[in-house]
């Protein structure tokens, strides 16, 4: 036990004296958590909180232009740029501004849009009211009539999600105007049509008094929605936490930072081998297992420190920068178990890498790149469910994906130890597999010639 403690103490001393290693282990994940959370917090707010400016040019100046303008004003995610009159900006300047990226969207209602819109609406409604169905020949309807269109410029650097959000908002607004205008026309046309039909049917019996019997439709509609969409977070238990960038990013980048210990861990193994230290140790009364266990325990302690530090940042620093406070959920024990398992998985990988790689350069390059690849596959950058099928299938094999899913169970879904176990188990198996693989390699090389 004293030998193991000596190995742990030595590893920790060495780690805390290696400034570059400390930067990799602590500062990098901290910087990632702060930067990515703040960036994504803003992106998530785009969906409902922070308003994005839109350059709106109403060259129509009539019903459609006004109502589209109203819809943008009412939108929770869009805000009109100052240049809305058409005097400050024209189509060309709007397009240039968006192309440059100085503004993300421009919405232009061309002159005459309302006139064309109304004409098509009238034709559409007229064609739908038949007097002698089904014998009557359908009217021409809107066929052949030019369709007015709303021009929508968007910055090509924007993501598909953001672009389609704004496009959907505009389509929804147009649909609303269309329904409203069509119903207005319908309400006006139907009594006239009914009167005509009644006159024709009654012939000489028709009197102006009969007009009162024909029902009138109200032109103004009640704006209250008939049916609403109720959004509710699907979580275990009674928790009502709303997912936010802090809840999603803090655990994700903590995990990413943890897996970066593979670089210093593999480096320490390689340095000991290259400096002759390993041979010296193997000629001493200490087993290779004790040496390796000393490293694993030290790096697991480091991972625990990373967790505490990053959680503290999520709980105390990030809120000062305007984000919600990190909620660690109702199962700190689950967080501890997940962290321990992820730390072991990362340590196992580091040991395998440090055993197989011949030089520090090899280990650091391969280690860092493989962790980034595993993170990308694990859904750190793009959610797994929107990846192509083949990538989704591959992502199942990423240890970072298991860790992230386990953390999200606790941080976002309100789960605990039980619900995170399906992801914790593969992490532990990964640790076993990598250490056994390293051990097999070491055994073949004859480095275990110890007690």
């Amino acid at each position: 036990m004293m030998k193991l403690w000596s190995c742990i103490r030595k590893e920790l001393l060495l780690l805390f004296r290696d400034l570059t290693g400390l930067l990799v282990i602590f500062l990098m994940p901290l910087a990632l958590v702060v930067v990515v959370t703040l960036v994504q917090e803003n992106a998530m707010r785009f969906m409902g909180e922070t308003k994005t400016k839109v350059l709106f040019l109403d060259m129509d100046g009539d019903t459609v232009g006004l109502q589209i303008g109203e819809a943008i004003k009412k939108s929770s995610s869009l805000e009109m740029d100052g240049r809305t009159t058409g005097k400050d900006a024209d189509m060309e300047t709007a397009k240039r501004a968006v192309a440059k990226g100085t503004i993300q969207f421009a919405v232009i209602v061309p002159a005459g849009t309302t006139k064309a819109f109304m004409k098509r609406a009238r034709l559409s409604v007229e064609s739908s009211i038949l007097t002698d169905a089904p014998k009557e020949k359908p009217r021409k309807g809107t066929a052949g009539e030019p369709s007015p269109s709303l021009l929508f410029y968007f910055d090509p650097a924007l993501t598909e999600t953001v672009r389609s959000n704004v496009a959907n908002l505009l389509e929804k607004a147009i649909m609303g105007i269309e329904i409203k205008e069509k119903m207005k026309l319908f309400s006006g046309m139907l009594p006239v049509k009914m009167e005509k039909v009644a006159k024709k049917a009654m012939g000489g019996f028709w009197s102006e008094e009969n007009k009162k019997l024909i029902p009138k439709a109200r032109i103004e509609w009640d704006d209250a929605a008939i049916m609403t969409v109720r959004e509710e977070v699907a979580q275990y238990g009674k928790s009502v936490k709303l997912p936010n960038a802090v809840q999603q990013n803090v655990p994700a980048w903590t995990l990413f930072g943890m897996f970066f210990i593979v670089v210093p861990l593999a480096g320490s193994l390689i340095r000991e081998r290259q400096s002759g230290m390993l041979l010296r140790l193997l000629a001493m009364p200490v087993s290779y297992l004790t040496i390796i266990t000393g490293k694993v325990v030290s790096y697991v302690i480091i991972c625990m420190c990373q967790l505490v530090l990053i959680m503290a940042v999520g709980m105390f620093l990030l809120p000062l920068l305007g984000t919600p406070v990190l909620d660690i959920g109702s199962s700190p024990a689950a967080i501890l178990i997940i962290t321990l398992s992820a730390a072991l998985a990362a340590s196992g990988y580091g040991i395998l890498l440090g055993t197989v790689a011949r030089t520090y350069e090899q280990a650091s390059m391969f280690g860092a790149v493989s962790v980034v690849i595993c993170a990308a596959l694990g859904g750190f950058m793009v959610p797994v469910h929107i990846m192509p099928k083949v990538m989704q299938s591959i992502s199942v094999f990423s240890p970072l994906s298991w860790g992230l899913r386990a953390f999200l169970e606790v941080f976002v879904r309100g789960g605990g130890i039980g619900s995170s176990l399906p992801y914790v188990a593969p992490l532990l198996l990964f640790f076993l597999a990598t250490t056994l693989a390293a051990w097999f390699y070491i055994y073949k090389k004859g480095w275990t010639r110890a007690n």
Partner: protein
């Protein structure tokens, strides 16, 4: 061959050691036999590839021999490596110390691995540091040390636990004459309590320090005896270096 005098207690004995590395048809060791008595400094000399490091690695438990056996203080090295490791010390050719730790921290780590602790460990660290002339630099980090200081610290780490047999693999490579002189002087003073297996390419060192030398080539001993005896037996050679060249040839060994 038995170099130890009949009155001496045998500390290390190697019998007919043969070692084939995987994939090689040529043996790295081809029937090496030697014995070292108490208080003896045994010089293992030879050109590169002669089998010195292989022999030391088998004797200090790092390698398994293909055949033959080694006993240290009567214990079979292959059968009881754990016990043997408590009796031996190893000073590798590389500076096998942690540069980011101080000399004291390095020695403390190695001492604890040997089961030393508390006041005894502190006493041994101070003793070992004083022995190699590093008592004033114990709290300096290794990377700040000169080459000679590092070599001396490397030696101190092998002496902390007072081994019965000390394996020294070229312990004076690349250092200034003062540090070399100190190391040789201190090693000489250890003779009465520690047997040593010493490899070096500096024949002068072997002449001064070793009570017995074995010149190896192609995995076998080609000459063995006290340095003075060996030189006397070959009248054409004035010193060990000339004898070494005469026995192993001038051809380069890379």
């Amino acid at each position: 061959m038995n170099s130890a005098a009949p009155s001496q207690e045998m500390i290390l004995s190697a019998q007919d050691l043969v070692k084939f590395y995987p994939g090689s048809d040529e043996p790295a060791l081809n029937g090496l036999t030697l014995s070292i008595g108490e208080g003896e400094v045994f010089g293992l000399l030879g050109p590169n590839g002669a089998g010195k490091t292989t022999a030391i690695s088998i004797m200090n438990t790092l390698l398994k021999s293909t055949s033959g056996n080694v006993t240290i203080c009567g214990m079979d090295v292959a059968k009881h490596p754990g016990e043997v490791k408590r009796l031996i010390g190893y000073v590798p050719q590389d500076i096998a110390l942690y540069p980011d730790l101080s000399a004291r921290e390095n020695l403390r780590f190695f001492g604890r691995i040997h089961g030393l602790k508390g006041p005894e460990l502190k006493k041994r660290i101070d003793e070992a540091a004083a022995f190699v002339g590093l008592e004033g630099s114990l709290d300096q980090r290794l990377y700040t040390f000169s080459g000679g200081m590092k070599r001396r610290a490397n030696l101190a780490a092998g002496l902390l636990h007072r081994p019965k047999v000390l394996f020294l693999d070229e312990p004076t490579v690349g250092i200034d004459p003062q540090s070399r002189n100190l190391i040789l002087e201190r090693l000489s003073s250890l003779k009465d309590r520690t047997a040593m297996v010493y490899t070096t390419h500096y024949m002068g060192e072997a002449e001064i320090l070793c009570s017995c030398v074995a010149i190896m080539d192609s995995g076998r001993i080609i000459a063995e005896g006290a340095p003075d005896d060996l030189i006397r037996r070959t009248p054409a050679c004035k010193n060990l270096e000339e004898l070494f060249i005469a026995l192993t040839g001038k051809e380069l060994r890379d």
